[in-house]
Amino acid sequence: MSANENSNAEKKCKKLSSQVVISIAGNPNVGKSTIFNSLTGLNQHTGNWTGKTVESFEGRYTYKNTCFKVIDLPGTYSLISDSEEEEIARDFLFFNKDTFCLVVMDATCLERNLNLALKIKEINPNILVCVNILDEAERKSIKINLNKLSELLKAPVIGTTYKNKKSIEKLKEEIYKTTILNKNEKKFSLTESIYPQVIENAISRLVPLIDKITSGKLCSRQLALSLIDLDESMIVSIKNLLGVNILENEDINQTLNDIKKNLRKSNINSSDLKDIIEKSIVKKSEKIYKSCVTLKKENYNEKDRKIDKILTSKLTGIPIMVLLLFLIFWITLIGANYPSSVLADVLFFVQDKLTLACNTLHLPPWLHGSLVLGLYRTLAWVVSVMLPPMAIFFPLFTLLEDLGYLPRVAFNLDHFLRKAGTNGKQALTMCMGFGCNACAVTGCRIINSKREKLIAILTNNFIPCNGRFPTLISIITMFFISSVPIGCTSLISTALLTVTIIFGIFMSLISSKLLSATLLKGIPTSFSLELPPYRRPQVGRLIVRSIFDRTLFVLLRAVVVAAPAGLLIWCLSNTIVGGNSLLKYSTSFLDPFAKLFGLDGIILMAFILGFPANEIVMPIVVMSYLCTGSLTELSSIQELQALLLNNGWTTTTALCTMLFSLMHFPCGTTILTIKNETKSNKWTLISFILPTVLGLICCFIVSSISKILV
């Protein structure tokens, strides 16, 4: 299924009179988003680490003339919300108890996953359980009796393998049966005693009082538990939904006081309550697990532990991390060369033909200039130079993500993040920054502490996104490897790029430390991170999908952002006022300031105009020089180098441009996302100023040293 098919499903759904709503819930990292993508044809970001999905997403599909609206909820370990994304899941499940819920469980970790399934079943009897990743379970010789599991959970259970299309079709059929065909069958809640009698008695006293206030809209049993346990976030959520502070009700208050006295008589303190509630659920999960699961190998995770020993050890952990980064960059560099030159040949050939056509049709020079030399040429540059590295890097990085390596990166980097006064999960958001800084900022929701989340948001821009790699790669190729023997150029380029990225990571840590010591002082909060089992990624499907998605993304950005920027540059350079072009005036105005930092007016203007998208910075630099110089053709990196050298570029200029590319204000999308996430103009402004100031300081230092040495 594709996104097109999802939009077709939306159209079909509008014609159908009814719609069934299904939420997909479960622990983090069990394959909820993968199942969501398979059902709806949408393309939520998936990967083997906890916390990727940080907000709920909707999609639709039709099956046997029925419209299904699917909601992918963020993963949650329990219904006691601890972070923003867990609160989204908890609130949806709690306040939509009459919708169907597809509870997804990881077959290789069933015992722990059963906890949440049981808690959801307590709230909502309309569940369908999906035991996912059965192929991995089979590989580890874990045998699951799905029929027995269904009997004990009192809910339909289906097994799926996300790689297998047939299992998704079976899932659709089972969803249809449960929600439509067997809709009127009695659904069983797990209301038989799970908790000790004294707590069950307390619940039964509160339930009728709660029903009176909520008119049965909410699960009174779960709400009763929350009241007994004084779950503040739940009470606030109910107040927001119903406009009622349930604790202000006299009857409920009195009953709660009675209940507390009874609990004390049974030697149960309020601090022990959560332990008891959790232990009761765990006991039930263990009982169900032992009845349904057979392990042929007790130490089925032994292989994973051996790999972890290598990837996280004192000697090899960090070197392997650096080496993997190096390898990904090297493959990107090598892989991008040929497609870049082919694309450049084709696109600039088309440019020549367009010019010929314009001349043949006697089109006015301004029309040819603006459309062909401005708009089309910039678009051609972005596609030929920027697209291949982005299309190669992204799938390679996604492979590492799907393997389950990223949490190990967070494990290795936690020591440094702790020294910087931040949370270890920032390593995960930093990794996301390699793809897109805006997505990484949203991803910061996995960090619970407001202070640490802010630090992660404000410093993420030091990690260069996909859009900045081609700029760094092309500058390194042109200026830093000319004297290197031919066989070693790719290795040296890659090494320099890796050093640059590591410098970016270092600056991210330094600025985190700076913020922790000044504007965002505070005590580090607790840090816990699940290290998921390693999974075999679907290499072929992943690469094809990523390349396709990334290509579409770059092409869209090229059309929407780069082409208009190129048109603007052409217009600025060809609008003459008082003997000079507007471009000349703008760049001359910026030139003195830029020169202090080893840049020039055109480079600085390119960064300013590149605010909508980082990948257009270099094309704007090139276009601006072309418009002011005599070169009209540009089809190779050597010609590009000649253009830059002719316009006064030196090694210092190249180094400073790289540094400023690494450390400057975030792009427009990232700034908007930061504003959205922080809801604060102050922090949004700081996110703009912090990397820019640090970038300018570094450029100033480099430029000054260069002037002294020369």
Binding site: Y77, S78, I80, D82, C109, E111, R112, N115, K274, D275, E278, K279, V282, N301, R305, D308, K309, T312, S313, K314, G317, I318, P407, A410, F411, N412, D414, H415, R418, G424, N448, P524, S526, F527, S528, L529, E530, L531, P532
Partner: protein, 77 residues
């Protein structure tokens, strides 16, 4: 014998006895499986030793020593 979790030697099995943490952290740890009377085993640590991975209820969870030293375990099993 009861000790804090961060002192439990690598690959040695312990039994969680108590979580001496604040309410919010307790919620998180309970939901991750750090429940009293549950078996736990430290399986590996980072290079500085202040972050360790624990096997609890067949899942691997990393915890800093500042959090692990507030979890009491019994090593008599």
């Amino acid at each position: 014998m009861e000790i804090s979790l961060n002192r439990l030697p690598l690959l040695k099995l312990g039994n969680i006895k108590n979580l001496l943490v604040d309410k919010k952290t307790k919620c998180k740890l309970l939901s991750l499986g750090f429940i009293p009377e549950t078996a736990i085993k430290p399986v590996f640590s980072n290079f500085s030793g202040n972050l360790r991975a624990y096997e609890v209820r067949k899942a691997i969870i990393a915890l800093r020593d500042t959090d692990a030293n507030k979890i009491r375990v019994d090593v008599s099993i």
